[in-house]
Point group: none
Chain length 417, copies 2
């Protein structure tokens, strides 16, 4: 089975927006042996969209459209898809009733314009959208399965998953087994050179290496025409060989972020955390509190952007700043210890650095970051020189800090602490 993904929205043609919907869907399909080998981004113009939908349905067995299901005049996916397939749109009273009750629950009246969302391609199944007002639609024609999905990722995912499990998985024709390793504390080229001699021997499973600002993902995808067991055996064999070489850097073997792993480890060990952030400006706290349930282990912290915050609130000695500067091992050390004392946490972690574009000197270049971890009777600091722009340096710094906490918790566990 072959799939074409169509993302609708003029904004995606103009702006540097990453369309995460298509990569999400591509990954889910690949897990079932379905190849998405084309992706199209189209402006929200009727003739344009209906042209590509028509061509795509002639070519692929699976055509997935996301976006353009909202209530406004710009939202033309329903009409365009119906026109492409020469089908009528049918008005569904029930959708209007559901929308009215949704608005009523929020104490609002449904705007008249939302009735546009009640038109469904004839013969299509209506797919409930638990997170928004635009229901999805699913239609099987002679040649092709057609999916109409809402554009916002949080709405797209549940609607897609519903159709995926009921209509796509049962029709997939390969047994597929995939595994993922997520690594931190090692670079992409270093990963590749350590394992290239292993994975290059295999055409099945397929190995993919993805790098993203301090976190590396290794993906192994094995397939079999015969059985689930065979696909699994092939994948496990390769994954086992890779783990033997890179195990020290693997923080997760599933779709789990570094922050999630850190929060889990803190919970398991019943330790609390506080952060002191300078150049990252709250990014570390934001990552950690992005994890549901982090309040069990995360107390909070101080965004010590100005030096007056470092000295006045965290208790960093004026002398340290004068002698070593705010971006120094000594400052990071005092910030980490200071925030731990201030908040009464078990672990204190500090980040201070030069994110750029300004602030660099000959000795302290743009991208220089100090990260420090402080616990009672132990501390550890790292100095890193990160490449990339302001955003990238800040994100790498946050990931490095999370990596440092993860590593500490792992090693402490190893020592039976």
């Amino acid at each position: 089975m072959r799939a074409i993904f169509i993302a609708v929205g003029s904004e995606m043609l103009d702006l540097d927006r990453v369309d995460t919907n298509s990569t999400y869907v591509a990954r889910r399909l690949r897990e079932k042996g379905v190849l998405m080998d084309m992706k199209v981004v189209v402006s929200d113009h009727m003739d344009n969209l209906s042209w590509i939908v028509k061509k795509a349905c002639q070519r692929a067995q699976l055509v997935i459209i996301s976006g353009g299901l909202g209530p406004t005049e710009d939202d033309i996916t329903r009409e365009a898809a119906a026109a492409a397939l020469k089908k009528k749109l049918v008005f569904h009273e029930q959708i209007v009733a559901d929308l009215q009750s949704l608005f009523r629950d929020r104490g609002l009246a449904m705007p008249e314009i939302n009735t546009r969302q009640a038109f469904v391609i004839e013969g299509a199944e209506i797919i409930a959208n638990p997170a928004g007002t635009a229901p999805g639609q699913y239609l099987e024609t002679e040649n092709c399965k057609l999916l109409l999905l809402p554009g916002p990722p949080n709405e797209m995912i549940p609607v897609f998953e519903d159709i995926f499990s009921r209509h796509i998985v049962p029709a997939a024709n390969y047994f597929i087994y995939s595994r993922t390793f997520r690594l931190t504390g090692i670079g992409e080229s270093d990963v590749d050179s350590r394992i290239a001699d292993i994975y290059r021997k295999y055409r099945n499973p397929v190995t993919t290496i993805l790098a993203s600002l301090g976190v590396i993902e290794l993906h192994f995808l094995g397939r079999s025409k015969n059985s689930d067991e065979e696909a699994r055996r092939l994948t496990d064999e390769l994954a086992g060989k890779v783990r033997a070489r890179l195990g020290d850097f693997i923080f997760a073997e599933k779709e789990q972020s570094l922050a999630e792993v850190v929060v889990d480890d803190l919970k398991r060990r019943k330790l609390t955390l506080a952060v002191a952030e300078s150049c990252s400006g709250g990014g570390l706290g934001s990552q950690i509190t992005g994890v549901a349930g982090s309040s069990e282990v995360f107390l909070g912290g101080v965004i010590a952007y100005a030096n007056s915050m470092k000295t006045g609130i965290l208790g960093v000695a004026e002398e340290v700043l004068k002698k070593h500067g705010a971006v120094s091992k000594q400052a990071a050390q005092a910030m980490a210890a200071g925030v731990r004392r201030l908040c009464g946490s078990d672990i204190g972690v500090a980040i201070t650095g030069i994110a750029g574009p300004g602030g660099a000197t000959a000795e302290k270049p743009k991208g220089l970051v100090h990260v420090h971890l402080s616990v009672e009777n132990f501390e550890q600091g790292v100095r890193q020189l990160f490449s990339g722009d302001r955003d990238m340096v800040r994100t790498r710094a946050v990931n490095r800090a999370l990596g440092l906490i993860w590593q500490y918790l792992k090693e402490a566990r190893g020592k039976g602490q």
Copy 2:
């Protein structure tokens, strides 16, 4: 003239990589009134690429392909484009000679495989690539101008610019003028219903409305066959009418984020800011410090995730938390005033809320957020009920806080403060 952009490369289908080539080309074309209304990303498989090139050349007057011009077996753009147009590939000795001399200059022998790069579609012009080994190709067929460009941006740009100036600019037939409004403090459907009667009257300029978690973007694109002035006049006329209705919500008329506008306004008024964050966990500080130069006006703040941080560090009275709870107007008020005092800033802003999925009660549902701004002799609080998941509630809360600061600075300015 209408354009379709085709990016070749399987890696772009799997990864969250932004294809910057297409946005570069879209912008350059728009400046000359050429609309790129479709973009395709295809895997590097022969039948796949040649299918879409054929269809694209039937539909658009300008088809731009980037990538797949390298020397390896994966590089199939030459063959696929020739097949799509039913043309032969012609071997050019001169290209081989040029490549050989390029390699010789680097002290290397040309690998045999690079001779693949010497095949040119019959009738195509060879376009020199000053930055790499893959020359570009330019071909005019009956229906369509076809561009074959190398994939790496530093090679793509000079090759594209060469063709653009000699073959596209002289054929362009529109003058274009665009304007952008960015709004906060108003929802998408509210924006639409307030101005639909105006913008729907115009097919030129074209109006686009984009919404993203509390920030709305309005885009107007006017075009004229006659003159730059006419395009500008058309766009300004519509934009002026829209501004008359929505001016109070417009924070920027260019590509500027809400955080950037807030930092600029603070600088202009020489005011300093500190933040106290509970449910957003550092996200507000992170947004603000994402702006280069924010250190002039942003002192820092406190991530008061645990209640002990709210009372112990920000000085929120135990009583307030007991009586009203941590998610209340009173708590937000005390946090904002507390962080202002603690950091010695002119403005203190606090966020406290229930991001979910846990923590909700009957009176305090998931999505409830209080944002509060405190200055000497003035304060303002807002209570909002945001929809969406944890991430969305947190992002909306941060945007609402930025909007509140922006509004305060605007109104204070209006009163001559």
